[in-house]
């Protein structure tokens, strides 16, 4: 009955709703790249600084300082581009925040503290390099690392809640009996948070390594570049196979808890026993065409049983199905890239094991340079899968996106202004980061002002 009521409810104008979704997707997709560096980069930087302290090797020290300088820029842009998201929760989706803001408030309150700790200690880490003894300084980096991971965890629990809303009761449409811990630790929380945190380290690692891969392709083969490449690349490459396992866990989770999303991912129209796995293909006229099918593989992957029944899109009413093509293709892209990262890491591992040397061919460095943007692409594709795959729900099975959107006119104008600002921001960020990369290693102290 409630479902029917939802379907019949007056919808916000479709144009404004599309604008709101685009704005959220765009600003979130933009911020999350910076957020990944905010989570992953401090760990690698602190590690390099610690190695410099332990070994006295100046190459590590200059790497740490170089990364810290870039981190200062990335963190600043990440912090402010994250702020608009907390605004947008209310500006664009007041229908969700008005009803459920208190249900998901706990992780955001915790995230506030984590962000505080991160910002405070990053300020100390970046600016007090020469005000603190070296051993104390390296320790001030640790809260940044921990708080960064904690921030990611808290925020993703809120998104997990949108997939698996728990911790409240609905009585005549009213939200009562709120249990914040239960909301925070919902069934989607473990796979989603682990998947995202690992992804953040991979994006940061491959992204940082890509800068040095490009430098080496341009002939800069000194120790600074080799170390600057190897350290982040190894960290990310080690995580690549881990991420395959975590991703499999996330897919199993979907099979049990959000089968319609999995059906969209696989382009599975009809509930099928012994379902095949479809590679590629496009949904046309309600059917997946041009896909390569592997018999029984989907049933095997989803339920560990080649003959298991896999739920198809037909289990959801026609108006409550997510769009298939974008979810299906994004998923395939993410998985393909994920396996490519595993192979790339294996390539380095084999050559290193035999010769203690980087692969001699330029193609390895070309591939490693591509892995930087590739990791970003895979992460974004993953977010498309989880967000678009949940549609038309904003809170799965509870609240439709179109019921949550701000009913005010003019959201489209807001989107246009926002896109213009972000276009400038993107150009400026890329320009500044490229300049920083070309400046080369930092050897002088972080602070320029006279003591």
């Amino acid at each position: 009955m409630q479902l029917l009521g939802s379907l019949l409810a007056e919808a916000a104008t479709p144009g404004d709703m599309a604008a709101a979704r685009t704005q959220m997707a765009f600003s979130l997709g933009w911020h999350i790249i910076l957020a990944c560096f905010g989570v992953g980069m401090p760990g690698l930087t602190v590690f390099a600084e610690w190695r410099a302290l332990r070994t006295g090797d100046p190459a590590y020290g200059s790497l740490a300082r170089t990364w810290a300088r870039a981190m200062g820029v990335l963190f600043a842009v990440g912090a402010v581009s994250g702020t608009i998201l907390s605004f947008e929760m209310g500006l664009l989706w007041p229908g969700m925040m008005g009803r459920f803001g208190d249900v998901i408030g706990l992780p955001f309150t915790l995230e506030g503290f984590a962000f505080f700790i991160e910002a405070i200690f990053l300020g100390i880490y970046l600016y007090a390099w020469d005000r603190l003894p070296p051993r104390v300084h390296v320790l001030t980096g640790l809260p940044v690392v921990l708080a960064g991971v904690a921030s990611a965890f808290f925020v993703v629990t809120a998104n997990a809640w949108m997939n698996q809303p728990r911790g409240f009761d609905l009585v005549d449409g009213r939200v009562v009996g709120i249990r914040p811990w239960e909301a925070m630790f919902n069934p989607a929380t473990p796979p989603q948070t682990v998947h995202m945190i690992v992804a953040a380290f991979m994006v940061a690692g491959f992204g940082m390594a890509a800068v040095y891969a490009v430098g080496m392709l341009r002939g800069k083969r000194d120790r600074h570049h080799r170390l600057g490449f190897l350290l982040p690349f190894t960290a990310a490459a080690v995580l690549a196979p881990v991420q395959v396992v975590v991703g499999d866990w996330a897919a199993h989770f979907l099979a049990d808890y959000q089968p319609i999303k999995l059906a969209a991912i696989e382009g599975l129209e009809h509930t099928t026993a012994a379902a095949p796995l479809s590679l590629g293909g496009l949904q046309l006229g309600g059917q997946l065409r041009y896909a390569v099918e592997i018999p029984n593989a989907l049933s095997l992957l989803a339920h560990w049983d080649p003959n298991a029944v896999v739920i198809g899109l037909d289990r959801a009413p026609a108006g409550l199905r997510p769009p298939v093509n974008v979810v299906h293709l994004s998923f395939q892209l993410m998985v393909a890239l994920g396996f490519a990262f595993v192979l790339l890491g294996a390539w380095l591992a084999v050559v290193w094991w035999r010769r203690r040397e980087l692969p001699g061919t330029r193609w390895f460095l070309v591939a490693a340079a591509a892995a930087g943007p590739g990791a970003v692409l895979a992460m974004e594709a993953g977010w498309v899968v989880t967000e678009v795959g949940r549609q038309p729900w904003i809170v799965y099975d509870v609240l439709l996106t179109r019921e949550a959107v701000n009913p005010k006119p003019g959201l489209l104008a807001g989107l246009v202004i926002l896109l213009a600002v972000y276009a400038v921001l993107t150009v400026a960020s890329v320009y500044v980061l490229r300049r920083l990369a070309r400046l080369g290693p930092v050897r002088a102290p972080q602070e320029e002002e006279p003591g």
């Binding site: 300088r69 200062g72 820029v73 600043a76 842009v77 912090a79 402010v80 581009s81 994250g82 702020t83 608009i84 907390s86 605004f87 929760m89 209310g90 500006l91 007041p94 229908g95 925040m97 008005g98 009803r99 459920f100 803001g101 208190d102 408030g105 706990l106 955001f108 309150t109 915790l110 995230e111 506030g112 503290f113 962000f115 505080f116 700790i117 910002a119 405070i120 300020g123 100390i124 600016y127 007090a128 809260p143 009562v176 709120i178 249990r179 914040p180 811990w181 701000n406 009913p407 005010k408 003019g410 807001g414 202004i417 926002l418 600002v421 400026a428 960020s429 500044v432 300049r435 002002e449």
Partner: protein
């Protein structure tokens, strides 16, 4: 005092700290804008960059803290607030992005032309952002945000005499606080010519702030009579405190007591915010009181406990940050 009252008090403390610390960072941007030609203003801009560089990101978190606490404790009121004030909040958020990014970009850029471009973006967004944030406070204070998120006026709610007044007062407060703090920073840096510059600015912006507040009272009487009545009623003692500290601060500036005026100027601005809160309490939005807007007690209690535990981590860290950069480097 109920849990809801306690949470409102914490929210107000967060708002106050954002106004004081985040506000001063915005004010630094305003003085950067007015520092004059590149050669002449270089010393001032350097002092401003030096003062806000290590702390602005931490100071900025108070805003996020306030927003998330708002929706956690009072979700319905937050939804109405955000949905109705969609325009100024979007503009403020974009201003925040421009300010922070441009500041960080300028810091790592060496070329004159780029530095000037990023500097202009940093400085102008430092003025625009507090104005729009200020208008949203005026919208709430003048009861123009209805408790129903569909009914608010997207334009009139924040483009009206009270909102424009609060927007202007917000900008002037940031300018005043920044000038006061920078005067003391200049003293510590041992730069007499900068002390003179920022002292002059602190006196000027302080006087202007006082005058605008006085001009604002008749505006409030006509445009927001309930607020005016509240300011002269239950909030009157706090208003008096604000006036006393405001006048005292100007006197201390004249007497060159820069360290002390940091405190009194902050207290004057604090008292203005708390006077508004006292005048409006317990009404949050028209027809919606604090207890009615609050979520279930179980959530309130949990959040208050989390805040207490979080404060144990946060307060020493913040104090260390400020102490580290307020101390002279030997």
């Amino acid at each position: 005092m109920t849990a809801a009252d306690l949470l409102v008090a914490v929210l107000w403390i967060g708002l106050t700290l954002y106004a004081l610390f985040g506000g001063a960072d915005f004010g630094g941007g305003l003085w950067d804008l007015l520092a004059g030609r590149p050669e002449r203003g270089a010393a001032q801009r350097e002092l401003i960059e030096h003062s806000i560089g290590p702390v602005w990101e931490a100071n900025h978190v108070w805003l996020i803290f306030v927003i998330t606490l708002f929706w956690t404790g009072f979700p319905g009121a937050f939804a109405s607030f955000a949905a109705t004030l969609y325009i100024p909040l979007t503009l403020a958020a974009l201003g925040i992005i421009a300010r922070g990014s441009a500041f960080a970009f300028r810091k790592v850029t060496a070329e004159f032309r780029q530095r000037r471009l990023f500097g202009a973006a940093f400085a102008s967004s430092s003025v625009v952002t507090p104005f729009f944030l200020g208008t949203t406070l005026g919208a709430v204070a003048s009861f123009r945000v209805p408790a129903d998120l569909a009914r608010g006026d997207v334009l009139g709610s924040w483009w009206n005499p009270t909102s424009v007044l609060t927007g202007v007062l917000a900008v002037l407060s940031t300018a005043y606080l920044a000038a006061v703090f920078l005067t003391d920073d200049a003293r510590r840096a041992g730069a007499p010519e900068l002390i003179a510059v920022f002292r002059r600015r602190a006196l000027g912006s302080g006087l202007l702030l006082g005058v605008c507040t006085l001009i604002g009272l008749p505006v409030l009487q006509v445009d927001a009579p309930h607020l005016f009545a509240g300011l002269l009623g239950p909030a009157l003692p706090v208003v008096v405190v604000s006036v006393v500290f405001g006048v005292l601060s100007l006197g201390l500036l004249a007497a060159r007591r820069y360290r002390l005026v940091r405190v009194t100027a902050a207290l004057a601005v604090t008292a203005v915010l708390w006077a508004w809160g006292a005048a409006q309490y317990p009404v949050m939005l028209p027809g919606l009181t604090v207890p009615a807007a609050a979520t279930e007690p179980r959530v309130l209690h949990l959040v208050l406990w989390v805040l207490l535990v979080g404060a144990v981590l946060l307060v020493p860290s913040l104090l260390w940050l400020y102490a580290l950069f307020q101390r002279e480097r030997r």
